[in-house]
Amino acid sequence: MSLLRRPRLPLAMALILLAAAGGGLAFNLLMPQGVGWLPEAVARPLWRPLELARAVRLRQQGALMVDARDPGHYKAAHLRGAVNLSPRERELLWPLLEPQLRRAPAVVVYGRYRSRWPAAEIAQFLCRQGLRRVYVLQATLEQCRAAGLPLRRRRPRRQGS
């Protein structure tokens, strides 16, 4: 009983951590808004992964490239011809890009950070909107450039003008 009333500090801190972990686990298992171990777009993907070589072929056949990264990164460098549709601006840009995306024979989404995979999120969204051939590119921008996909980089600003 006295241990419960005044436990040693490290032990009590460990118990608090355990209580938080237990509560979090139970809540996320039982409640409908609970999250899984991985984001839904990654754990239960509706899109298909795409190798770089196939992406090059698809692009030649008219596939539309979608850059799912934040606008700042898109402006700094992106694949030539790619449109920017990031999760943050999805609601705003989807109505504008929808006709172009629906017309495309296939859509190849790319973009990844350490903690986020916006490409997976956007591809999942596009699949839910009824687009059929939606792929997520499994390559970095540098790998794309090395494979012959042209990159468009932001030009450095001229000084003094």
Binding site: I16, F27, V35, S115
Partner: protein, 146 residues
């Protein structure tokens, strides 16, 4: 003097409990939104974002409840101090990188509270009551006069 100390302890405990409960309820109830806020810092690998954000939200909730109830005050204050130091580190990092995203600290702050030095300074203010409680949190109750 002792009465003043107890008064400060009570104030610090209730204030910190309020801060942690207010900060945690939305994170606990909307775990996906908080996971997005955690992911925005881009420090954890993808597989760690959801578990870490859930644990963080619940840790804040448990700490807030314990402080409110006055149970295990020193361990709860120790967690509060640890969390606040960690948050300050993250906010300073965000300030240095010039990220400009929402700090994800409290609910209903869309666009108004960017992660950065200002938010780190605010957390430094929250750290003071946590350190006080860590120091004086569970001092022995005063002896009753015969």
């Amino acid at each position: 003097m002792k009465r003043l100390s107890r008064f400060i302890t009570l104030g610090a405990r209730l204030f910190l409990a309020g801060v942690f409960l207010y900060a945690s309820y939305d994170k606990v109830w909307n775990p996906a939104a908080f996971a997005s806020a955690v992911a925005a810092y881009d420090l954890l690998p993808l597989w760690a974002v959801n578990p870490a954000s859930v644990l963080l939200a619940w840790l804040e909730l448990v700490v807030g409840l314990l402080l409110l109830a006055g149970v295990w005050v020193r361990p709860a204050a120790a967690w509060a101090a640890l969390l606040l130091v960690m948050f300050m580190g993250l906010l300073v990092y965000a300030g240095l990188t010039g990220a400009g995203y929402d700090c994800g600290c409290f609910p209903g702050q869309e666009g108004g509270h960017a992660a950065g030095f200002g938010a780190a300074l605010r957390d430094l203010g929250f750290l003071l009551p946590a350190l006080w409680l860590l120091w004086r949190g569970e001092s022995a109750p005063a002896r009753r006069r015969p």
